[in-house]
């Protein structure tokens, strides 16, 4: 595989990652959000594998396999189980209508592209082009965290931020040292486990998964004290 061909494939995958970030924002159903999240993990693993193959960094293969197992299979499965047990697998409730969200998303993407452009020139890695897209994906995932009412979609947004950061790491530096990556992977796993436990606790305490309700009951409690 020649370098330019690999670069084209990586660029294509970067474009798909951006598309998936938009798709995550535009979904109406909890389960389809989860499907797109899983697709993002699988795409990330594939990107890591392609970068590993073309740059000859064998450590990246390990992180590709880890990404595939953890972000492509395990995390979506855990979230799916939580969603099924909590019976929240219906509509995602955004704060704004989806048209407005998508317009904001486009603005955010433009902003990311604009600020990354000068940085891009200084890099000579073959994956440098994907930096801007990774930044845009981070911002888009944050937007997803802001604009959703339910705690579960916010957590998916958080995990998507982590995915995008991983993508940025592959793009900017051909991957982080393996030790760091394994550490982050376990952090994410533990975070997801704890989030899962939290969901059940939140439901037991407040009878709802909506952030507004949680805020309301907390404020109410303060007044009581």
């Amino acid at each position: 595989m020649s370098a330019s061909f690999a670069q084209q494939i990586i660029d294509g995958m970067a474009a798909l990652t951006l598309l998936i970030s938009f798709a995550l924002l535009a979904q109406h159903r909890m389960l389809s959000v989860l499907h797109w999240f899983a697709a993002q993990g699988l795409l990330l693993a594939a990107t890591a594998a392609v970068v590993a193959y073309s740059s000859g960094e064998h450590e990246l293969y390990i992180s590709a396999i880890m990404t595939f197992l953890l972000k492509g299979l395990l995390l979506p499965w855990m979230l799916w189980r939580v969603i099924r047990k909590l019976h929240v697998h219906r509509e995602v409730e955004p704060l704004m209508n989806s048209g407005l969200t998508v317009i904001i998303a486009i603005t955010v993407t433009l902003f990311a592209f604009h600020i990354i452009q000068p940085i891009e020139v200084t890099s000579d890695l073959m994956t440098r082009n994907s930096m801007a897209i990774a930044t845009a994906c981070v911002l888009l995932s944050m937007l997803m965290m802001i604009t959703r009412k339910k705690a579960i979609t916010q957590v998916i947004g958080f995990l998507a931020v982590e995915n995008s950061l991983f993508f940025a790491a592959i793009g900017a530096t051909n991957g982080m040292p393996l030790v760091v990556e394994i550490g982050i992977a376990f952090d994410v796993l533990i975070a997801a486990l704890i989030f899962g436990l939290f969901f059940f606790q939140i439901r037991n305490t407040f009878d709802s998964m909506e952030i507004d309700t949680l805020n309301a009951s907390l404020i109410h409690k303060d007044e009581d004290e």
């Binding site: 660029d11 474009a15 598309l19 592209f113």
Partner: protein, 315 residues
């Protein structure tokens, strides 16, 4: 001299082939649904029958109503005849500008919507209102997706864009894939195919295009139907020109054009079969979901544009 001949041949071919294309599409659809179908020639037979019939005009029909079929047909045929299908450089290829084509189609649509409201029936007005709402969303998306290619070629002229695609080496360009996906979605919406509008429906509440034609009869109806078939062929040709032009003849020789014709027909059939599979496998969208569908197409083409800047032009 010979290029003038080929230009006329190409224009005639577009107009005469359009009913066959519609017939082919409905035959493929019928076969996919385990029906026998009426055959490829059926739209031609329909048009001939309608031309032989008497025109019945509503009492309140104004000149706009009588005028519209000719305007719609002429504008659509003009747009179809300048789009390069077989030969790259024709005497009219300078006018084959995408923005001009969109404007011609918009002229046709404007008169169609006026005619829908002219008689004053409820359905005509409803159809016009829907058509205008959706076209206001579809047109920017279509222009945006064409712009992705136009920026690469530094021109909105179709011939220049085709030449640019033919001369640049073959690369994986995600922006073009995005633009193609958007363009396919727009084509389905603009030609009134299934997830958006059902061309065979006569159920009042779901129709868009048909609702405006309800009051037409005889040769007027024939021209309207024919124009919408030409429009389908025009969109297919545009997609072939912009996204897969390989095989188009660059010189006005008989062999070159004949070869281009064969390749073009194959690409056309491929596209129509894909369209038929789409139409058979999808259910019609709820009317209120159409803006979202068109919005998705717009976002796709806009992403294509941004990715083009970021990944392909940047460095």
């Amino acid at each position: 001299m010979s290029s003038v001949f080929f230009q006329c041949f190409q224009a005639l071919l577009m107009v005469l082939l359009a009913p066959l294309v519609a017939g082919f599409l409905s035959t493929v659809k019928a076969r996919l649904q385990n029906r026998h179908g009426a055959g490829i020639m059926q739209p031609w037979r329909d048009i001939r029958k309608l031309f032989a019939k008497e025109v019945v005009l509503a009492e309140h029909a104004s000149w706009i109503f009588r005028f519209t079929p000719y305007v719609v047909f002429t504008a659509t045929v003009m747009a179809a005849s300048v789009a390069p299908a077989l030969l790259l450089h024709t005497p009219l290829s300078l006018t084959a500008d995408v923005i001009a084509l969109v404007a011609l189609l918009a002229l046709a649509r404007f008169f169609l919507a006026l005619a829908g409201m002219d008689i004053g029936t409820a359905f005509g007005g409803m159809g016009s209102s829907r058509e205008m709402t959706f076209s206001a969303l579809a047109e920017p998306a279509m222009l945006m997706s064409v712009l992705v290619l136009a920026i690469g070629a530094h021109s909105t002229n179709i011939t220049t864009m085709v030449t640019h695609t033919l001369t640049t080496p073959l690369l994986i360009q995600p922006s073009i894939a995005f633009a193609l996906a958007a363009m396919l979605m727009i084509t389905i919406a603009e030609t009134g195919r299934i997830p958006i509008d059902n061309p065979t429906t006569h159920l009042e509440l779901t129709m868009i295009h048909e609702a405006m034609l309800l009051e037409y009869s005889g040769r007027h109806l024939a021209l309207m139907e024919w124009a919408s078939m030409v429009k389908l062929l025009l969109f297919a040709t545009l997609i072939i020109d912009l996204f897969m032009p390989w095989g188009i003849s660059s010189e006005a020789s008989l062999i070159g054009v004949a070869l281009a014709l064969v390749i073009w027909l194959f690409k056309l059939m491929g596209l129509l079969i894909i369209l038929a599979v789409f139409e058979t496998s999808l259910a019609k969208l709820r009317l209120f979901e159409v803006p979202q569908y068109l919005g998705t197409a717009f976002v796709l083409s806009f992403l294509g544009l941004m990715i083009h800047y970021m990944l392909e032009v940047g460095v």
